[in-house]
């Protein structure tokens, strides 16, 4: 045993003849037990620290994997939603009763409204109606197209006015230098062979 081993390796300073044997053994046992307890405490704290480190690492990995999975799920659900939206829009544009039935759903989906609380069965039982007027997106697109056309028209009108005022030749040609950056700043003509290229100094020549 450990106790026996210890007592065998360490020379005892106590003379067994002078001391009570039982007392001596008890003291040695208490000392060894204390040392062993300290050693166990050290080992336990080392192990606890390594477990903590490992748990932190694991938590970090789980966090990373979860965020990746969440991104993938979000992406997939967005794709799915887009596909469903496209299908519903296609159905709503279709002819006959089906178009009328799906149109309210299509309006909801196109406007990115939250999913209808009422079940689809309710919609099917509703009398088929043709959508009133153009879809909202088409109206918005027409407004955008009209605004763009107005802006272009404005630019072309300004140009036509200028041509009418100054003539076509003025519109197409310009005299040399007109509209060019005026030469009031630095001129980049210091390259090799150019007028302001640096010349070798006398000191450099004599060297």
């Amino acid at each position: 045993m450990l106790l026996a081993g210890r007592s065998a390796t360490r020379p005892s300073t106590l003379a067994p003849q002078e001391r009570d044997d039982a007392d001596w053994v008890a003291r040695r046992m208490v000392l060894d037990a204390g040392a062993q307890a300290a050693r166990l405490r050290r080992q336990a704290s080392v192990r606890a620290a390594s477990i903590c480190d490992a748990a932190e690492r694991e938590a970090e990995i789980v966090w990373r994997q979860t965020s990746v999975q969440a991104a993938a799920i979000r992406e997939a659900s967005e794709r799915e939603a887009a596909r469903l939206r496209a299908t519903v829009m296609k159905l709503s544009a279709g002819p006959g009763e089906l178009g009328g039935v799906v149109a309210p759903v299509a309006r909801n989906v196109a406007g990115s409204a939250p999913p209808a609380a009422k079940p689809a069965v309710r919609l099917v039982t509703r009398p088929a109606r043709r959508p009133q007027g153009a879809p909202r997106q088409l109206v918005a697109a027409r407004v955008a197209a009209a605004a763009t056309a107005a802006l272009l028209f404005f630019a072309l009108t300004a140009a036509t006015t200028e041509v009418a005022l100054h003539g076509f030749a003025f519109f197409v040609f310009r005299s040399a230098g007109t509209g060019e950056t005026p030469s009031t700043g630095l001129q980049e003509n210091q390259g090799p062979g150019q007028p302001d290229a640096p010349r070798p100094t006398v000191a450099a020549h004599n060297r």
Binding site: I51, A55, M89, A140, A144, T148, L152, A155, T184
Partner: protein, 318 residues
């Protein structure tokens, strides 16, 4: 007692130091619990996933993607920043001399960056930088509108504001571009995207019209020659006159962007990527990409040169 590979505490007592955490990627052949599985290639998902991870900064968590997007998007503000001192001090000389060069060139750079996003996404298979497309587009519009406004007020052409903006061929083309960019700027937000639905994309294809008009604008501005004056863009200090000509810079950049938008080229790239031969794609497009970079750096050089002149309110005449 120690931790098992799964992180649970068990009664056995193996050494705690040989703890092995679970691998980063899910086990091969095992589907995620929710049944959704990203279809991207490994390289794409790895970098995209890396960008999605957030880190602690000042008590809050920030995604790496956000930091990368800010770092890549911030330079787009530079042209406006260059003109700020002249705007604050109302320095009409700086405006009349170099606003066209600083803001106009800045708008051109932003347009190319905006157009670069889609081909780069196709080539690399990554999507984390796609939000930059909108940002560069917005900055392009701001630079272009600022350029037109300043040119209309401070340029030395005959006529009033509209005479300066529409009195000559190249100014008219520039004016048309600005008029087209206004609806794109106004609808470049999620609200307008929702309102316009599928028509939004159709409207925003106007960017290609603007791209084409830019060619006409630059050609009419400087012609096709290299000389100084109305037939060229000034001295070429480095002895390379062609790439100091704005139309050739534009052509060098546009060739790459246009080629990667052609449907057969896109199909070919996708097919090679599916075969796992992405290297072949890169080798094939490398010359075009190099040409793009070459032209782009000349434009960037011009922007920095003119911009610093504008910022110090000593505008360059070149």
């Amino acid at each position: 007692m120690t931790a098992s590979p799964a992180g649970r505490l068990t009664a056995e007592a193996p050494a705690a130091n040989d703890y092995q955490p679970v691998p980063d990627a899910p086990p091969a052949g095992k589907r995620p619990v929710d049944g959704h599985r990203p279809r991207e290639r490994a390289a794409k998902s790895r970098l995209d996933a890396w960008m999605e991870v957030d880190f602690k900064f000042g008590g809050s968590r920030i995604k790496r993607k956000a930091v990368a997007l800010i770092l890549l998007g911030a330079p787009a503000v530079t042209p406006l920043f260059f003109m700020l001192p002249a705007l604050i001090t109302l320095n009409s000389n700086t405006f009349s001399v170099s606003v066209d060069d600083t803001l106009g060139t800045g708008a051109e750079l932003c347009l190319f960056l905006c157009l670069l996003v889609t081909p780069m996404s196709l080539l690399t298979g990554q999507h984390w930088f796609v939000p930059l497309r909108r940002w560069y587009g917005i900055m392009m519009a701001c630079c272009a509108i600022g350029d037109a406004t300043a040119a209309g007020i401070t340029d030395d052409f005959a006529g009033g504001v509209f005479g300066r903006l529409a009195g000559h061929t190249f100014t008219l083309v520039g004016f048309l571009m600005v008029m087209l960019v206004i609806p794109l700027l106004l609808t470049g937000n999620p609200w307008a995207q929702r309102k316009l639905g599928r028509y939004w994309k159709r409207l925003h294809r106007l960017i290609y019209v603007i791209w084409a008009l830019l060619a006409a604008h630059l050609m009419l501005l400087e012609g096709l020659g290299f000389q100084r004056g109305t037939d060229g863009s000034g001295f070429a200090g480095d002895g390379d006159p062609a790439f100091h000509q704005r139309f050739y810079q534009y052509s060098a950049c546009s060739l790459f962007l246009l080629t990667l938008r052609l449907p057969p080229v896109k199909r070919w790239i996708v097919a090679r990527q599916k075969e796992g031969r992405n290297w072949l794609v890169w080798v094939t497009i490398a010359p075009l990409f190099a040409l793009f970079l070459f032209g782009f750096f000349f434009i960037l050089n011009e922007e920095i040169f003119k911009g610093i002149g504008s910022f110090t309110e000593h505008p360059s005449a070149e």
